[in-house]
Symmetry: D2
């Protein structure tokens, strides 16, 4: 049986000047930073640092897929909430993202990232997320 | 009848130091820069600058969707080719991307961006790409 | 007589993954982001937004000089404090920066930025910071 | 006797969209990227890769000081030349930078970076640039 807690975590962010483009909105590529921050905070809330795990195990978790949907643009100094929700931690680690304005909850951005476990330095694909990570994320084989 | 030339354009790139992450590979978010460069070159090859078009018309083309697939990581000083191919320029501007190693043609990354036409400053959605852009991109209504 | 309050402001920061380089430390160029965040917070604490001022006056404050000194590198997830201190707001706006580790106060980085007032779009140099900004920053002619 | 060839190298660059700020000019922090690209090309022209040197020796060359002077702003699609000139490769590696518009040679930016040799992972300061690097850069003790 494959069971998983719903793991979700939110971070607050304020749009910095250097994330804006000449159209006065956040350049689409910079949303990946917000996702990264939220994903790291999600893992941390579950007691996981993929960075530390790499240092002890040599296993890295490269992002193999991303998608974003931009519904409403963020502007300078906008205060927003980025929620990361774990979707899967079995063969891959899949995380969904949603960015809302802090003021009125308007949804601005949605996204997803997928990561696989790979053994460095040869980058050999492991066909499953390591058990230690899985159990902290609440999956059971 | 809806007809469109196949418009495609390639740029060369060499991976800079500041695009790398601690795992010695290009951080996934930085591929959006390569896509941006290739898309701008694609438009330029068709005689279009969306930036200039904005200055004269007040119409901007925000990216509303992106997706990436990372097949093989780029590393420091890798020489690569990023090809941008126009998929649609009707309701939206849709462009596909493919990044290959220059040395052996190995496919590293695939991606897509979608843009809509919006009238600044109120950001009112136009339900079609302006005719001037369409005709330069080879679409016919 | 030329008098000025000592205006100083601190922000907290946590080093994100995407600011690191392959040597596992923050890439030197990314410290400019931390300075920008601290400078914006400093101005905000004095009731100033240079961004809003530009929108109403057409006057911008481009950075014309920067310097940094890197004493101790920041690493992933380091918690640090960046203090911005106003040095001058007369002919130029000069701000000094100091980044310390939150844990033990170790000094990591020092820096300075200098900005001048310029009238857009022709970018004509104004030889003084506008009075409204000066008075909020506590300078008196 | 301390002798050194004048080592200088130029790269061409075209300003990308994502380096611009809301004032339609290159954000000051992004000039560090242009300097990095020019410095790497300078070393490469002398047969040096500090990245490869690190991999075989464990010696890294962190930037300990930077300075920039912004004379004329770069804008979207500006074509520019960034020249890097070696100033010293003895105790430190010091490189000067100058960015000019390709069209008319107008000077836009000047800068300098200083790097020291440090032994990873303990980051112990070496009080001199390693001989192998020095000799490739043309210094003689």
């Amino acid at each position: 049986m494959n069971r998983q807690k719903t793991i979700s975590h939110e971070i607050n962010l304020t749009v910095p000047f250097y994330d804006l483009d000449p159209m006065q909105i956040v350049w689409h590529g910079n949303y990946m930073n917000y996702f990264e921050d939220a994903r790291a905070a999600l893992f941390r809330s579950a007691g996981i640092s993929l960075y530390d795990f790499y240092e002890k195990s040599g296993i890295v978790f490269p992002v193999i897929k991303t998608s974003t949907k931009h519904i409403f643009p963020l502007r300078y100094r906008d205060e927003a909430v980025c929620r990361a929700t774990l979707v899967e931690a079995d063969y891959k680690i899949v995380v969904d993202f949603e960015i809302r304005l802090a003021s009125d909850g308007k949804i601005c951005t949605r996204g997803r990232t997928e990561q696989v476990a790979v053994k460095a330095p040869g980058m050999e694909l492991l066909y499953s997320v390591p058990d230690e990570i899985k159990s902290l994320l609440g999956s059971s084989a």
